[in-house]
């Protein structure tokens, strides 16, 4: 008897699961509907991309002599008029800052960018970072105002463009963040009067649009102050933005305070720590760490929202772009200008959003099994 097991014939190898052909089959043509969608979308993408290249590169006019925009007008929308950017880029970036002094505004933008990059690096998250911020912001103030170190004085009314956007966003952040921590702590306080004040502040601000606060800053603030005392328009807008951002950030911080396990509070109490020691050494370091990714997302929103100062006539990046095309010679080239301005905003926001995603992954690494 031959009981030797007869091996069942080997099954055929599966249809290839790796390699480019398999990838295409799985990701583009997994069914006939999917295949149809792929083909239609690819066709549209190619068509639009070619159309955009034709409009933005092939037919485009890159420069015109002496504001003679006839060459652009002759295109009748078949090509982009990048000449408006060539002509107006300094105005869009620096506004009405004196032409020969614009390097100072440019240097300020570089310092801002450096400050953001340094603050983003975790190895710099130390107490000394506060000193770096104070130093950098002082340097920017000196550069922009001048009047010392042989720099000519430039009044604030002449500042404009990207610098204003960065100033509004950075100073807004620097003041709104501490405010938001206080408000978030106040909202979780057991003292009823303090809690009520914080709740009213947060809900009132979050219930109304930023524009109404900016209007308030531009038309109502002068009425609030004693006669003769006058606050600059930019500063008024800055205060409105700080109050606005403070309320939104406070809700994010409060989220972190709520996620922190109760045992942490109790352990600190058991050690006999005072309220401020408990908050400063136990609660905040953990709670803030939890909310860094949503905080960065709020910063992005808030960086974009600084563009609303356009409505009360402050000369930020977007206002500068909009003003650049008011001149009759350049009217009608809004699309080119807005694409350029949008690209600048995109660079900042995209960098922040990528950073927030990486940070989230990094901070959650201990949770991944």
């Amino acid at each position: 008897m031959s009981d030797a097991a007869i091996p069942t014939p080997a099954r055929p190898a599966p249809i290839t699961l790796v390699g480019p052909i398999a990838w295409v089959r799985n990701n583009l043509f997994s069914g006939w509907i999917s295949g149809l969608i792929s083909l239609v979308l690819l066709f549209l993408i190619v068509k639009w991309a070619l159309g955009f290249i034709e409009w933005g590169v092939i037919n485009a006019v890159w420069s015109v002599p002496n504001n003679q925009t006839q060459a652009c007008r002759d295109l009748r929308g078949t090509g982009a008029c990048w000449a408006v950017i060539t002509e107006k880029h300094r105005f869009i970036l620096f506004g009405t800052y004196p032409y020969e002094e614009q390097w100072r505004a440019f240097l300020s933008i570089l310092i801002f960018s450096g400050l953001f990059i340094v603050s983003a690096m975790r190895s710099f998250w130390r107490k000394e970072l506060a000193l770096v911020w104070i130093g950098a912001l002082t340097a920017i103030g000196v550069l922009m105002w001048g009047g010392v170190l042989g720099l000519n004085y430039v009044p604030q009314e002449r500042w404009g463009g990207l610098v204003i956007t960065l100033i509004l966003a950075t100073f807004g952040l620097a003041f709104a963040f501490p405010l938001s921590i206080l408000v978030a702590l106040g909202r979780r306080s057991r003292l009823p009067a303090i809690k009520a004040l914080c709740v009213i502040y947060v809900e009132l601000i979050r219930g109304v649009p930023l524009i109404s606060l900016l209007f308030m800053a531009s038309v109502m603030f002068p009425l609030f102050l004693p006669e003769g005392m006058n606050i600059d328009k930019l500063l008024r807008a800055q205060i409105a933005i700080i109050l606005f951002a403070g309320a939104y950030l406070a809700e994010v911080v409060r989220g972190g305070l709520q996620t922190l396990p109760r045992g942490q509070y109790e352990a600190a109490d058991a050690l006999g720590l005072s309220y401020w020691k408990k908050t400063g050494f136990i609660v905040l370091p953990q709670a803030l760490r939890l909310v860094i990714p949503p905080l960065v997302n709020t910063f992005i929103g808030f960086f974009k929202d600084t563009s609303l100062v356009l409505i009360i006539g402050i000369f930020d990046l977007l206002t500068a772009g909009k003003t650049a095309i008011i001149e009759p010679a350049w009217q009608g080239f809004g699309i080119e200008v807005y694409l350029t301005v949008g690209f600048i905003y995109f660079c900042f926001c995209f960098a922040m959003s990528r950073y927030s995603q990486n940070l989230e992954a990094e901070l959650n690494r201990h949770r991944v099994r």
Partner: protein, 400 residues
């Protein structure tokens, strides 16, 4: 700090001591700090208030809302109710409020539909669709809304005039005068049909609730669709037919230098709506995607193992769980659409902010003007969040 009274452990806390007038008593410190903070806030408010009263007197600015009854004299381009510049400020503000609601309501509906589609597309197996929607979400969320509005408005203004209007379909014209769509001549019968539809909707919902209660009691499923058909289709049709079934299509046509007839979306409204919808859809897409991903795969597999059909899996198992994650952040997006519609003022659409702003410039009564804006938005915000909280409570997980 000791525990709050909610904590059951506080039941075992020592009985309350009488307050000792000493700095070491925590309650004394608490009262002291509250008095200090409230004192600072009240004195600041009082200082600002007295400055304001003084300034108003010096500048001879009137106070109070008496101006609301005066003739506005401001022209409004589009209005849902009858309006002309001789009407009062109150009427003008009403027009502005309706214009705000017109953008907000349509915007919320369109952004929800569009955002949900993109959110689902981001989870598609199809690489092109997935990448395209991911790119859309990333780009649209990284650009300021105001910039997008100005961009769309610039594009609309760059379109050819009515005579060379883009004409993608019969009766649809896109020109620098806005978008023209075919419509019907609205008559009383249509309004009646609409009312009948809404009544039918209420009746259907009530019937469905009753049917469900009975099914829970005796286990016999009852079909809702025949009632729905009668209430939602037959009833409005009957109401419409009872008044003679009027149907006159109103198709826009070029007469001379402009269009006549049809439904008009002005360039301002169209740019505002397009900008708001496309911007918010990017955020809603992320919310929908996160909500769907939050449902564990095991839930879907378990439902399949029970033998549910794919539609039923989605309707009975996946969606109810996903909605729990989706609804709270969706509420804040709806609030954002409403608040962001105030950017209308930048492109010249006359919403409540724009009209209140003109009013305060004409009358000089800044405080009242801004108070009106804030009051309107606070009311809208509180109503939307009230409704969404009610909805959220309905779909929330029922725990012990």
């Amino acid at each position: 700090m000791s525990q709050t009274s909610i904590d059951p452990r506080s039941l075992r806390a020592p009985p309350k001591r009488p307050i000792k007038l000493s700095w070491s008593d925590e309650r004394v410190r608490g009262i002291f700090w509250q008095v200090v903070v409230v004192g600072i806030v009240v004195s600041m408010v009082w200082w600002l208030w007295s400055n304001t009263v003084h300034n108003l007197e010096v500048r001879r600015i009137a106070t109070g809302f008496g101006f609301l009854g005066r003739e506005a004299g401001l022209p409004i381009a589009e209005s849902l109710i009858d309006y002309n510049p001789t009407n009062s400020y109150l009427r003008a503000l009403m027009v502005g409020l309706l214009n705000t609601l017109k953008v907000a309501v349509v915007g919320i509906i369109l952004a929800t539909v569009f955002g949900t589609l993109i959110g689902i597309a981001r989870l598609s197996k199809n690489w092109v669709l997935r990448t395209l929607s991911a790119t859309y979400v990333e780009v649209i969320r990284d650009l300021p809304l105001l910039l997008q509005l100005l961009f769309w408005y610039a594009i609309l203004q760059g379109l050819p005039g009515p005579r060379q209007a883009l004409h993608p379909a019969e009766g649809v014209f896109l020109s620098n005068r806005g978008l023209k769509l075919p419509w019907i001549q609205w008559e009383g019968a249509h309004s009646l049909a609409l009312v009948a539809f809404l009544l039918g909707l209420v009746a259907t919902i009530m019937y469905r609730r009753q049917a469900l209660a009975k099914q829970i009691a005796d286990g016999v499923p009852r079909a809702v669709w025949p009632v729905a058909l009668v209430c939602l289709v037959a009833l409005p049709l009957a109401a419409w037919a009872a008044l003679g079934a009027p149907f006159t299509p109103d198709i826009p046509a070029l007469r001379g230098f402009n269009f006549q007839g049809g439904l008009t979306l002005s360039p301002e409204y169209f740019a505002l709506l397009a900008g708001l919808v496309m911007y918010t859809a990017g955020f809603i897409a992320e919310i929908v995607r996160a909500g769907i991903q939050a449902v564990p795969n095991g839930q879907r597999e378990a439902a399949q193992a029970l033998g549910l059909r794919p539609g039923a899996v989605l309707r009975l198992v996946v969606l109810p769980q996903a909605l729990r994650v989706i609804v709270p952040p969706m509420t804040s997006q709806y609030l954002n659409i409403t608040k962001n519609s105030s950017l209308a003022v930048a492109i010249g659409y006359q919403d409540i902010v724009s009209i209140a702003n003109t009013t305060l410039n004409q009358t000089g009564q800044a405080i009242e003007g801004i108070a009106i804006i804030m009051l309107v938005y606070l009311t809208i915000s509180l109503s939307i969040s009230g409704f969404m909280n009610w909805y959220n409570a309905r779909i929330a997980l029922v725990e012990r």
